[in-house]
C-alpha cells in the first residue's frame, strides 16, 4: 500500500515556522527520471527514532528508483564529524544532500558551500537556520514539546487542581532538546500544570532511569513524568516496581516503538507523533523534484497529532515507525 | 644570598670569606660545611645533628653502614632535600639550598646512588640535562655533541653520545652518571658509590680523574663501602652511624679494624669467610649456548653441588646474559641447558625455578623489587605456591608474615619493618630484601648477579657468610661479579668471559688476580 496522499501542512512564506500554514495532501512523484545519487546525513543511528527516518528515506529512495548513501555522525556532540561527513559525501559525488542537523546554526556555512556547487540541500527533522536551504521537510521539535504540553494543559486547565510534573527533555545542550524544552514550558504556562523538576540527561536508558528514580525520591507526590521516549520507557518498570502506576502518569514528547507498545499496553498515557517516516519520505521526494526541475513545496511537514490510549487503535504506525525487524539501511542502489 | 660573585670566582678553593672562624681543620678554609644538620623523614630520623666539612682539593670519604644516612647527607649538600634543622655553608656563606638547580649554579655536582638518567634520552642529552647549551634560546646541538664527546674522551669511557640510555648496561649507565657530574665549572663533586657496578679498568680511570680535579682544588665527597678504595683515594674519612656523626679520621693512618668498629660498633673479624668446597655431582650444565643478539657466543659451563663458580669479565662480556638465558628470561638461539641431568631448555622461568634454579638480578630497582610494595610481599613473591606462604591453594598470610619476619632477622634488615614499602629503605637494605627472595624456596643452583652492589662491609660479610652456608650445605652457587676480590676469595672455579665467549676456566689455586686479568682483555689474535 502506498503512503500517499498524506495530509501535511505547508508554510508560506517558507522557512519561518510562524508563517501561516495551509493543509494540503502531499503526493510524491511516481518514479525518478534517472537514478540520482542522494546523500543523507543523520546525527546518529543509535535509536529507534532515527531508524524510523532511515526507513522513510530508504523506502522512498527505493520507490523512486534513486541511489542513496546514508552517513551518521555518532551522536549529538559530533557536529564537526557531521560537517566532515557531509563534505565527504559531496566529494563522493552526491547530487543532493538531505541533512538531519546536529546544530541549528552550525551547518549554515557548509550549506552555503554546497549550494554554491548548485547541489540542493534539504533540511529534515531537526531544522537549520540557513536561508539558503532548498527545502525543508520537518515539523519543529518545539511544537512537539508544545503538543505534549498542550495535552497536559487541556487536561488540567487553569483553576483546576494543580498537578506536579517531572520534565526530562533529554541531553543538555542538544538543539532539539532545547527546542522541545521551550515548547513544552511555553505550552503548560498558565495552566494548572506545575513543572517541579527539569532534569537533563543523556538519552541512555540507564541514565534516564537514575534521573526518574531520583526525581521520584525527591517528589513522592509527583503526578506526571514527561520526557523523551527513553524516559517514558525507563519510567514504566520503575513505576510498576514502586506501585506508583496509578499515581504517576507517563508521557513522551515523541514517538518510538517502545512508546507505541507502552501506549497500547496502557503504561504510557500519550505521545505526539511527527510522522517521522513521512518526513523522511517527503525529503527524498523533494530532493528528486528539485533535481528534475519539477514543482515542489519548499517547506512542508506532516500535521502533528497526539496519539493517546484512546486513539491508538486508529493509529497507523507505518507513518512513524520502522516495521519490526527492520535493519538500518545505509545504502540504496 | 649573593651567589653571583661566587659563581664568578675560579673553581679553585681560593681564600673565601674571612669570617670563617670555626673551621675544624687548620689548613685551607672549608669549601662546604654543615653545622648541626638533622633530617627527619616521616618516622625516621635519618640525620641527627651532623657536622661535616669539605676542604678544597681533598677527597673526603663518607663511611657508614647501610642506612647510616650517607645518601641523605649528600642529598642535602646537593640541594635535593632540605634539612629539618641546621645549616649548610658554601665557602663560609650560609646557603639555603632551594633546589638542585641552585646547587649546580654553585658548582656542586652529584652522582647519586640511584641513577638520575632519563632512559628514553641519549647519552648526550642526559649529560647536559638541565644545563643545555643554547645560542639565542636555541639548542646548540653541534656544541652539545662536541662537548659530550670531549667529556667522554676525557674520562676514557667506552660510551657513544648517540646511544639511548635505556639500551645501556648498568655499568654503562653508571659511567654516564659519572660523566654527567663532570662539568667545567666544578667546585664540589659528590660521588655516592660510583664504582658499585664498574670494573677495575673504569674505576682506575675515574680515580685518575679524581686525582686530577683534586689538584685543581675541587673538593670531592666520596661514599663507598670498599676498603681498598678508601686507601686509594681518600684523604679524610668521616664515619656516620645511625644518623649521627662518629668521628673524622685521616685516611692514611686509620686502620680497617678501627673503621669497621667505628662504623658498626663491633668488630668484624674477616670480610671473606673461608669456605669448605666439596664439589659433588653436576647440577647445572650449559652447552654451547648462543643468544640471538650474540651477547653470548658458543659458551659452555658446568656447576657442581658444593662449589661456588665465579663468572668474571669486563662490562658487556656476557657473563650476566648467559645465566639470564639459562634462567629463561632472555632468549636463546642455540644451545642446551641441563639441570640435574634434565634438559630444561624449552621451559618457562617458573618451571626452571620449580626444578631448582634461581637467579638474583643485579639491578634491584629495575628488575629485582616491586618498589611500592612491602618487604613481606617482595620476599614471598617467588614462592606463593608453597608453604609457609600458601595453604590449600590459598595464601597463608600469617605464615607469610612469620616467615618474612624470620628472613628479615636473618638478613639483618634495618629497620626491621617488613610491612614498609621497599622504596623507603636505604639501598643496602633493599639489597637484603632482594637476597631474601631466594631463601623462600628450595633451590639447588643459586645464581647471584652482583649480589653486594651498595652493601656495607658488615652486611657484605654477612652475605658472604650466607653464600658460604649455602655452598657448604651442598648447594651449587654461581657468582657473577665485577668485584674482583669477591671472585678471588669466594670461588673455587672461575670462568672468564670475553665478548660473549668463555675465554678461560681457572681452578682453585690458580685463581689469582694476575691470572684472571690476563684473560679479561683482548687475546683474539692468538
Amino acid at each position: 500500500a502506498d503512503w500517499f496522499p498524506y495530509p501535511v501542512e505547508s508554510w508560506d512564506p517558507p522557512f519561518d515556522m510562524a508563517s501561516p500554514r495551509t493543509s494540503v495532501e502531499y503526493v510524491p512523484l511516481d518514479k525518478a527520471s534517472k537514478p540520482w545519487e542522494l546523500c543523507v546525513s543523520f546525527p546518529h543511528m543509535k535509536d529507534a527514532y532515527w531508524l524510523g527516518v532511515d526507513y522513510g528515506v530508504s523506502e522512498e529512495a527505493k520507490r523512486l528508483g534513486v541511489k542513496m548513501q546514508l552517513v551518521e555522525a555518532g551522536g549529538y556532540t559530533e557536529l564537526q564529524k557531521q560537517v566532515s561527513q557531509i563534505e565527504d559525501c559531496v566529494a563522493a559525488g552526491a547530487d543532493a544532500v538531505i541533512i538531519g542537523a546536529i546544530s541549528f546554526d552550525g551547518l549554515n556555512n557548509l550549506v552555503s558551500e554546497i549550494r554554491k556547487k548548485d547541489i540542493p540541500v534539504i533540511d529534515v527533522i531537526n531544522g537549520m537556520s540557513s536561508p539558503e536551504l532548498s527545502a525543508k521537510s520537518l515539523v519543529s521539535f518545539g511544537e512537539m514539546g508544545a503538543k505534549a504540553g498542550q495535552f497536559l494543559a487541556e487536561a488540567h486547565p487553569a483553576g483546576s487542581e494543580t498537578v506536579k510534573v517531572g520534565w526530562f527533555p533529554g541531553p543538555a545542550g542538544a538543539g532539539w532538546v532545547e527546542a522541545g524544552n521551550t515548547g513544552f514550558i511555553g505550552a503548560v504556562d498558565g495552566s494548572a500544570v506545575e513543572v517541579v523538576e527539569t532534569k537533563y540527561g543523556d538519552t541512555g536508558k540507564e541514565a534516564q532511569s537514575k534521573l526518574v528514580e531520583d526525581t521520584l525520591e525527591a517528589h513522592p507526590d509527583l503526578d506526571y513524568i514527561v520526557g523523551t521516549a527513553v524516559t517514558a520507557e525507563a519510567a514504566v518498570p520503575i513505576l510498576r516496581d514502586r506501585g506508583l502506576t496509578d499515581q504517576v502518569k507517563v508521557l513522551s514528547y515523541y514517538f518510538t516503538p517502545g512508546v507505541d507498545q507502552g501506549i497500547r499496553r496502557g503504561q504510557i498515557l500519550a505521545a505526539p507523533t511527527d510522522s517521522t517516516v513521512i518526513q523522511g519520505r517527503i525529503a527524498v521526494d523533494q530532493a528528486v523534484r528539485i533535481l528534475e526541475g519539477k514543482d515542489y513545496m519548499k517547506h512542508v511537514g506532516p500535521a502533528l497529532y497526539v496519539v493517546s490510549q484512546d486513539t491508538i487503535k486508529d493509529f497507523d504506525p507505518s507513518s512513524t515507525l520502522a516495521p519490526d525487524g527492520f535493519k538500518p539501511v545505509f545504502r540504496v542502489e | 644570598m649573593n651567589t653571583e660573585d661566587q659563581r664568578g670566582g675560579p673553581a679553585f678553593g681560593a681564600a673565601s670569606s674571612p669570617g670563617n672562624d670555626r673551621g675544624p681543620a687548620f689548613g685551607a678554609a672549608p669549601l662546604l660545611e654543615t653545622r648541626g644538620i638533622s633530617k627527619q623523614y616521616p618516622g625516621v630520623l635519618a640525620l641527627d645533628r651532623v657536622d661535616f666539612d669539605l676542604k678544597p682539593g681533598e677527597v673526603h670519604i663518607l663511611f657508614g653502614e647501610n642506612g647510616a644516612g650517607k645518601s641523605t647527607l649528600i642529598s642535602i649538600l646537593a640541594g635535593v632535600q632540605r634539612p629539618t634543622q641546621g645549616e649548610v655553608r658554601f665557602r663560609g656563606e650560609k646557603i639555603e639550598h632551594e633546589s638542585v638547580h641552585q646547587a649546580r649554579e654553585l658548582g656542586i655536582s652529584a652522582v647519586f646512588q640511584e641513577f638520575s638518567l632519563v632512559p628514553q634520552m641519549t647519552v648526550e642529552e642526559n649529560l647536559f640535562l638541565g644545563a643545555e647549551i643554547t645560542r639565542g634560546g636555541v639548542l646548540d646541538k653541534v656544541a652539545l655533541h662536541r662537548r659530550a664527546q670531549e667529556i667522554i674522551d676525557r674520562l676514557g669511557f667506552p660510551l657513544r653520545p648517540g646511544d639511548r640510555v635505556q639500551h645501556l648496561t648498568r655499568a654503562e649507565q653508571q659511567m654516564v652518571e659519572i660523566a654527567k657530574a663532570f662539568r667545567s665549572d666544578l667546585s664540589v663533586l659528590i660521588l655516592d658509590e660510583p664504582t658499585a657496578s664498574l670494573t677495575d679498568r673504569e674505576t682506575e680511570q675515574l680515580f685518575a680523574l679524581i686525582d686530577q680535579i683534586k689538584a685543581e682544588g675541587v673538593g670531592v665527597v666520596y661514599i663507598t663501602h670498599r676498603m681498598q678504595e678508601i686507601r686509594r683515594i681518600g684523604d679524610r674519612i668521616t664515619v656516620l652511624r645511625d644518623g649521627r656523626y662518629v668521628a673524622t679520621l685521616d685516611a692514611k693512618t686509620a686502620g680497617d679494624e678501627e673503621l669497621v668498629r667505628l662504623m658498626t660498633g663491633r668488630v668484624i673479624s674477616e670480610l671473606f669467610p673461608s669456605i669448605r668446597f666439596e664439589p659433588g655431582e653436576e647440577r647445572l650444565r650449559i652447552d654451547r649456548l648462543t643468544t640471538p643478539k650474540k651477547t653470548v657466543v658458543d659458551a659452555s659451563l658446568t656447576v657442581r653441588s658444593g662449589e661456588i663458580v665465579g663468572l668474571a669479565g669486563l662490562v658487556g662480556s656476557g657473563k650476566s646474559e648467559i645465566m639470564r638465558a639459562a634462567f629463561g628470561v632472555d632468549p636463546v638461539a642455540t644451545g642446551k641447558v641441563t639441570l640435574k641431568g634434565e634438559d630444561i631448555s624449552g621451559l618457562s622461568t617458573r618451571e626452571r625455578m620449580n626444578r631448582g634454579l634461581f637467579y638474583i638480578p643485579p639491578d634491584r630497582r629495575e628488575e629485582g623489587l616491586i618498589m611500592m610494595r612491602s618487604c613481606r610481599e617482595n620476599m614471598s613473591l617467588p614462592s606463593l605456591d608453597r608453604a609457609p606462604f600458601a595453604k590449600g591453594g590459598l595464601l597463608d598470610r600469617v605464615g607469610e608474615a612469620r616467615r618474612a619476619g624470620e628472613l628479615a632477622d636473618r638478613m639483618n634488615l634495618q629497620p626491621r619493618r617488613i610491612e614498609r614499602a621497599v622504596d623507603h629503605f636505604s639501598g643496602g637494605n633493599q639489597q637484603k630484601v632482594l637476597l631474601a627472595k631466594c631463601l623462600t624456596r628450595p633451590v639447588d643452583v643459586y645464581v647471584f648477579d652482583e649480589p653486594t652492589v651498595g652493601v656495607d662491609v658488615g652486611t657484605r660479610a654477612a652475605i658472604y657468610a650466607f653464600i658460604r652456608d649455602l655452598c657448604e650445605a651442598g648447594a651449587a652457587v654461581v657468582l657473577i661479579s665485577s668485584d674482583l676480590p669477591e671472585i678471588l676469595h669466594l670461588t673455587n672455579r672461575v670462568y672468564v668471559f670475553y665478548r660473549g665467549r668463555v675465554m678461560a676456566e681457572v681452578h682453585g689455586e690458580d685463581i689469582t688476580e694476575e691470572n684472571l686479568l690476563k684473560h679479561f682483555f683482548e687475546r683474539e689474535a692468538a
Partner: protein, 346 residues
C-alpha cells in the same frame, strides 16, 4: 597495608587521645572516602528532606551496583598498570546479545523461563567476555598498549552491537528476569545489592588471599621483577582483561534486567566513571596499588553525590561543575593523607 602495630605504637607515644587525634588516625587509616561520604550525607540531608530515608539510601546503593561491579573489574586493569576503556561497550554488547538470546529461547520455549534466563544471561556474559578475551590477547600476546587495545575494541564492539540491533531496544525477555534481577527484593533488600555484595566479597577474597591476586599487584608494580620471580606475566595480563570483561558483563546483564530491554546505548560513560571511582579510591594509574574495599566506596560516593544533587534540586549544569570539582578535591584530600601516612608509617 599498615601493620597492626602502628596503632599500638602510636597510642603509646601519644597519650592524649583527643578527638582531633582520633579523626586524624581514622583519616590516615581508612582514607578520605569514608569522610567524604559522611560529609556528603550530612550536607545532602540538610539540603533535602527526602535524602536520608531508608528507601532513598537503598535506592542509592542499588543504583550504584552497576558502577560498582564495573569498577571492581576496572580495578584489575588498573592494578596491572593498564586501563579498560571497553567496559561500556561490553555492557552494551552483553545487554544486546543477552536479551536477544533470552528472548529467542523464551519465544521457542515459553514454559522454560528459568532456562531461558540462564541461557540468555550466559550468552550475554559470554559475548562480553569475548571482548575481554580479544583485549587480553592484544595486550598480553601482541603487546598493544591497553589504551589503544581497549579503545579499539570498544569501537569494534559498539559497531557490532549496533549492527545487531540497529539501535532498537531488544524486547521479549521473560518478565520474571526483570522482576527478580532488576526489581526483586529479598528481606526488603534489592536483589542486585546481594549480587554486588557477593561479587565484591569474592573479588576481595581473590585479590587478597590467592596467589593470582598477588600477581596482579606484582605485574603492575614491576613487570620485569614479576617475570624474574617466575610469574607468568602474560597470563596474568590476559586474566586481567578477561576478569574485567566478566565483571562488566555481569553488570551488563543486571542492568538489562533493570531496564527490561536489551540496549546498545548503555554504558557510554562507564569507562571514565569507573576509572574515576577507582582513582578516588586510591588505585594508582601506574599500577600496583589499590584496595577492593575502597573501590566499592568510590563507586558509592560518585552515585551518592549524583543522587544527592538530584534530590537537592541542583540544576543539571551546576551538577556537572560540582561533580568535577568533587572528584578533584577527593584526590587532593587523598594526597594529603598519603603525606600523613608516610609520616606515621610503621
Amino acid at each position: 597495608m599498615a601493620s597492626p602495630e602502628t596503632g599500638t605504637k602510636a597510642d603509646i607515644s601519644a597519650p592524649k587521645r583527643d578527638l582531633a587525634y582520633w579523626m586524624k588516625f581514622l583519616f590516615i587509616r581508612l582514607g578520605v572516602l569514608p569522610f567524604l561520604l559522611v560529609i556528603a550525607i550530612v550536607i545532602f540531608t540538610m539540603m533535602s528532606d527526602n535524602f536520608l530515608s531508608a528507601r532513598n539510601l537503598t535506592n542509592v546503593v542499588r543504583q550504584s551496583v552497576y558502577l560498582m561491579i564495573v569498577s571492581l573489574g576496572q580495578m584489575f586493569a588498573l592494578l596491572t598498570g593498564g586501563f579498560d576503556l571497553s567496559v561500556g561497550t561490553i555492557l552494551a554488547i552483553t545487554s544486546v546479545v543477552g536479551a536477544s538470546v533470552m528472548a529467542a529461547v523464551y519465544a521457542t520455549m515459553p514454559d522454560a523461563v528459568v532456562l531461558a534466563i540462564a541461557i540468555g544471561a550466559l550468552a550475554g556474559i559470554a559475548a562480553g567476555v569475548a571482548v575481554g578475551v580479544c583485549n587480553g590477547i592484544g595486550v598480553a600476546v601482541f603487546g598493544v598498549s591497553p589504551f589503544i587495545m581497549t579503545l579499539g575494541m570498544s569501537s569494534v564492539g559498539f559497531g557490532i552491537a549496533l549492527f545487531l540491533t540497529g539501535g532498537v531496544p531488544v524486547y521479549g525477555m521473560p518478565v520474571e528476569f526483570g522482576e527478580f534481577f532488576g526489581f526483586g527484593k529479598l528481606f526488603g533488600v534489592p536483589v542486585p545489592i546481594y549480587i554486588a555484595a557477593l561479587l565484591a566479597l569474592v573479588t576481595f577474597f581473590f585479590v587478597n588471599w590467592t596467589r593470582q591476586g598477588r600477581y596482579f599487584y606484582a605485574v603492575g608494580g614491576n613487570e620485569k621483577a614479576a617475570r624474574l620471580s617466575g610469574i607468568n606475566t602474560r597470563m596474568t595480563l590476559f586474566i586481567t582483561y578477561v576478569l574485567t570483561a566478566l565483571l562488566a558483563g555481569i553488570a551488563g546483564m543486571l542492568l538489562t534486567a533493570r531496564l527490561d530491554t536489551g540496549e546498545a546505548n548503555i554504558g557510554a560513560s562507564m569507562p571514565l566513571e569507573s576509572i574515576a571511582a577507582c582513582v578516588i579510591a586510591g588505585v594508582s594509574l601506574r599500577g600496583g596499588v589499590g584496595r577492593v574495599e575502597n573501590v566499592v566506596l568510590g563507586a558509592l560516593f560518585i552515585v551518592l553525590v549524583q543522587n544527592g544533587m538530584n534530590l537537592a534540586r541542583i540544576e543539571s549544569y551546576l551538577q556537572m561543575v560540582v561533580l568535577g570539582a568533587l572528584l578533584i578535591l577527593a584526590v587532593i584530600a587523598d594526597q594529603i593523607r598519603l603525606r600523613y601516612l608516610a609520616g606515621s608509617q610503621d
